[in-house]
Amino acid sequence: MSEVEVSEPEVREIRGVGIGLGVAQGPVARMSEPLPAPSDAPSALTADEESARVREAVAAVARELEQRGALAGGNARDVLEAQAMMAEDPSLADEVATRLAQGRTGEWAVFDAFASFRDQLTALGGYLGERAADLDDVAQRVIARLRGVPAPGVPDPGHPFVLVAKDLAPADTALLDLDKVLALVTTEGGPTSHTAILAREKSIVAIVGVAAANELFDGEMVIVDAAAGVVTTQPTGEELDRAQNRAAARASAAAAPITDGALADGTPVPLLANLGSPDGAADAIALGAEGVGLFRTEFLFLSSSSAPTIEQQRESYTKLLSAFPGKKVVVRVLDAGADKPLPFLNDAHEENPALGLRGLRALQASEDILREQLTALAEAHEQTRRSPGGPADLWVMAPMVATVEEAEYFTAIAKDYGIRTAGVMVEVPSSALLADRILEYADFASIGTNDLTQYTLAADRLLGSVASFQDPWHPAVLRLIREVGDAGRMHGKPVGICGEAAADPLLAVVLVGLGATSLSMAPTALADVRASLLEHSIDDARVIAEAALAANGAASARDAARTAAAQHSSVAAL
């Protein structure tokens, strides 16, 4: 611009942690916060007047829910119609009338009447307990209507939008129409928050932990640049064009031919998929997964009150192994405890479950379950031996290994069952520090960066108030990873990464520089990581990793790596 403007310099960039490399633009729609509970102070209106207000509000909410149901169709329609009936429920109306007769406000009467039904449902537990959330949603809508404020929850402005929220809960994302979401921006949450995981799974452009996003308003145009971790407000036409071009270039990169993971100098870095059930195999292969780097077996166990039988397990494992003939498939034995409690494995109350009887510790205490799982895995491998394309290359690993003795124990028991390649997950700093001795027994190590970060920084990864500590870029975490990488090189044994860190395209380069020999991630992250690796040689990767290691903190490590990556790239800058 040629005009000289005399005004205060405006801050148009706000920062957070970008997820992936995407860029998007669009109008902001904010997710409104849950309403504060109404007060039980006496109403200034008569009971009849309050009653009329409530009747109007429940009818309006019911009609709106019915309309949304008609638009949504399918299962959502049933849920929304049921919610509409809840709003106008006659028993609820009786409960509300009783409270209004006591001189309370419509808001409080609705709140308290819904709460009484909610408590009944919660007390019944199970499936009915889950319906309590539907009830809460209806109550919030009616109360919002009575107050004349927008209903809380996922916005629906009728056009594609950039969703700005505190953080997304699983219940919110279930209601989210992903086709309408151009990008996600959250004020809280770190790179392993539910929002970040969703963004990676669905390839949505996202920036988490943008504290200043509180100031964004509905309808405001923004550019969300996940690669830079920057939200730009009041973008210029030129900025919008540039973002548009980058988004288009990235879309064509995603459509680029799928090649095996490798660095610019040809050093192979197999790119593998993290899977939670055999059903994801086809998608993973379509996105170019060269095998499975982490197959979580919890899905077989979490929905049952007792352990699944060997036959049930064998069937699932056979399905998985058949999908990857001739390819590497790393299966992790049951990782229960902490955030994934299983009553039949450990029903003791623990003050600190993340530090409790979990992972291999729990399996060692209930060795039958481990032995059955290994039996089923060996049988499934045997069954697929004659499958076309050859059998999968089955590797089995133990979760939460903290000591050399545990590594020795697990590899010995796995070999007893004919598992040829048995390794351990490195998620505890003790096993990273002693990786050289652990790898004397284990055939390979696979680093779980989420737990490794949680334990290194002593910050509960599920606790929002310490989410800022949960950043795998922290140099303390990187140094531990280097220990494992060095140990792997010394023993000539593979060191994989199977945490969220591997899905971060720049961090992926750093991890290879630290000695990782394969990377496993949510399949949707494969294209970005593949493209990022191709930009750097192994020497570049080591230099970039050194730059990150030399930083004092996670943010500065990321910045240092970004700067080093720009200087040490084996492709001409665009």
Partner: protein, 91 residues
């Protein structure tokens, strides 16, 4: 008007919640006469109340008793009984 009652066994695999509860409460509401439903020997609730019906916690194989009072009560209970004995999730 005579009071009519009917005891039936629940056919839906998901018991009387989710979709079956909605269909049942809607039909009871549309009938336009007072109808109650109770599980086993429990106390009756308004059959047109989806919240009341869900809160009964009725599972497949449970017995419920319907009581209707008013014009066409027999026919209304025939329809509702049919609804309850059908497994809607098997459709």
């Amino acid at each position: 008007m005579p009071t009519t009652s009917r005891t039936v066994r629940i056919g839906s695999a998901h018991g009387l919640h989710a979709r079956p509860a909605k269909l049942f409460a809607q039909a009871a509401k549309d009938a336009g006469i007072p109808i109650t439903v109770s599980k086993g020997a429990g106390s009756p609730v308004n059959a047109a109340s989806i919240l009341g019906v869900i809160a009964l916690g009725v599972e497949q194989g449970d017995y419920v008793t319907l009581i209707a009072d008013g014009e066409g009560a027999e026919a209304v209970l025939d329809t509702l009984a049919e609804l309850l004995t059908t497994d809607h999730d098997a459709e």
